[in-house]
């Protein structure tokens, strides 16, 4: 008679410890992302309530938001989801340089988006204290911008890790998590663009 060994893959065994642990990380990260989406949901619903009940929504002297240039940067950001997917594709085939190239390209596209955001902020004639509209606009775009920045930093971390030898036996989980985060940030931006620029 023997005491039964852990047959469930969920129970970590000494030899499979590293892989099993990375697996938990992905589960944990997905749970975190679901939770994080509620914060945006809260901001979106607050924005909608304030906008629908406002007597005067836009600050005096402001006609509306210019949407053409932001649309251009939106296209850049959304297509970076595609380049991230391409990078993952290369990684799954073991072509590290292809992964690194497209990964870096995605980071650059995120940076271009942030640059566009900064330019837009500087050109606007209203500030964060210009009524509810100004408050919402800067809070929503700023909070999303912080997420883009975090995404770029996460990608930089993964890029650096890809140079560690033999890392990608168990290291792919981090890449999957980062790319999930990036897609999440993109989807949020599309919703945000519709709410801020298209809905007027």
């Amino acid at each position: 008679m023997t005491i039964s060994p852990p047959v469930d893959t969920a129970a970590p065994s000494p030899e499979g410890h590293e892989a099993a642990h990375a697996n938990y990380s992905l589960t944990g990260f997905i749970i975190f992302l679901c939770s994080e989406s509620v914060i945006f949901l809260a901001f979106f619903s607050g924005y909608a309530v304030l906008k629908l009940s406002a007597l005067q929504w836009l600050p005096p002297g402001v006609e509306g938001l210019e949407w053409r240039t932001p649309l251009l940067y939106t296209v850049v950001l959304v297509s970076s989801s595609g380049t991230v997917a391409l990078a993952e594709h290369f990684l799954s085939r073991g072509q590290l340089w292809g992964f690194r190239a497209f990964w870096l390209l995605s980071m650059a596209m995120g940076a271009v988006f942030l640059y566009g955001q900064a330019i837009e902020w500087r050109s606007l004639e209203f500030g964060i204290t210009s009524g509810s509209f100004g408050s919402c606009f800067y809070l929503l775009t700023g909070f999303h911008g912080l997420h883009v920045l975090s995404g770029i930093l996460l990608m930089a971390l993964m890029l650096q890790r890809s140079f560690r030898p033999a890392n990608y036996a168990a290291g792919e989980q981090g890449v999957i998590a980062t790319s999930l985060f990036w897609h999440f940030v993109d989807v949020i931006w599309v919703l945000l663009f519709l709410l801020l620029y298209a809905w007027s």
């Binding site: 938990y24 589960t27 944990g28 749970i31 204290t129 408050s135 809070l139």
Partner: protein, 563 residues
Amino acid sequence: MTSTAGVESRILRAPHPVPGAPDNWKRFFSFNTDAKVIGIQYIATALFFLLVGGLLAMIMRGELITPEADLVDRTVYNGLYTMHGTIMLFLFIFPVLNGLNNLLIPCMIGAPDMAFPKLNAAAFWLVPVFGVILMASFLVPGGPASSGWWSYPPVSLQNPLGHLINGEALWILAVALSGISSIMGAVNFVTTILRMRAPGMTLTRMPIFCWTAFSAQTIQLIGLPALTGGAVMLLFDLVVGTSFYRPEGGGDPVLYQHFFWFYSHPAVYVIILPVFGVFSELFPVYARKPLFGYPFVAGASLVIVGLSLIVWVHHMFPSGVPQWMRDAFMVTTMLIAVPTGIKVFAWLATLWGGKLRLNTAMLFALGGLFNFVFAGVTGIMLATVPVDIHVNNTYFVVGHFHYVIYGAATMGVYAAIYHWFPKFTGHMYYEGLGKLHFLLTFIGTNLNFFPMHPLGLMGMPRRVSSYDPEFAFWNVIASLGAFLLGVSIIPFLLNLVSSWVRGAKAPANPWNAIGLEWLLPSPPPAENFEEHVPTVISGPYGYGTGRPLVEHQEEIERALLQA
């Protein structure tokens, strides 16, 4: 036999800490990643803040023993009730429950530790950090936050002295840090329960405590971000001068109430669900009967999660919300009584005809259940729009939620602490002191919080330091009850400390309970079962059925006895 060798070698080894960590009392003051150390850190920190919050409560009751505002200044009184509520919720009840989660979840499901031990330790160490921030607000010019624990604008946006660092800003910061800590904890608990169960422990074989902890932590994950979002906007309004809630800039103060209650009502279920779990664990042990209706008790927890997210407007019936909203939320709120009622009847059916063993843990569980039923009745009254509008912002509301949070939740926490004390300290507690603690607590609770109901119905508003002399009679009784509750803490702490230091050695399973945690030595070694996780072969609570819980149960029990 090679079979038991593994078990014995594991059990005979003295409990050892995580490699590299101190193995004496100092480990409780270090960044230790062992869930059992973190659990005790949480509980000890929470009990400290229970004393702080309790002291504030007794100052308030001292003020209210006479109708005049004579003991403290009125502005000080405003700070007292704000800080009492905030401390008790964010620094006592949430941390103490996270402590129980840390101790119980890995042991109950047979996991060596939590899924993310470092994240777990970081989540704990945030608690003293925001505790200090909140305490520091007593020292800043203008005093601590004074707008009540819910910090409604526009009251909370007043900053008469104009300082950047004021009580309200520190309050928001502390609550935000508490939220981050809770989210870190919730991600950890949910991942652990989903991914790290022992072989053979399917979801339908999981102890009810794990079901309720899972449900409660799911609420944290959905609800807390909404409060955090709302609090960020409040902080911007207060510090930067934005207009999310400032009416003069087009903001909407009621919007904050939506954000606040979208989390803070479900937060009550975050508190009470694990206590339901404690009741479900304790009644079968001390009645020697299987839990009645296991699938319904487990499923009811998930139903409560769903319903808890669509009831928040019942806190806002008088806040100028449309009538259709009042009607809809009155119905959803009343619906909560259905899953809760299922649980209460399941417990009663478990107790019915059982061979009851009335030790301290069981007494606290029974007392908690009694108080919970009382709170449930007043809860249904408050869900009714006309009654709620009549008693809104009176002592009736205060009485109701203190019955929930002290009468049911805190007494349930006491029950859990006594029940699992031998398991995690390796020492038995003193029954006599425990029963004295129960007696004082039960009498004190009812003496303190029952009079608040007639006071509320008579129309005494909450959050006032002086009142009409016609309310004096009930207030004197309530104050005496509060002081009795203060006294009741003394035998409790005395018992905890002296039992841990010199209490009788606890066997592995002092209550003859069924569960994976009782198949571990007392106290369990750092990694629990390590790689020798037993295979679960039947559902929990098999009392009186003779079914073994795990494979080779007899060998494991024999080895534990020999150890």
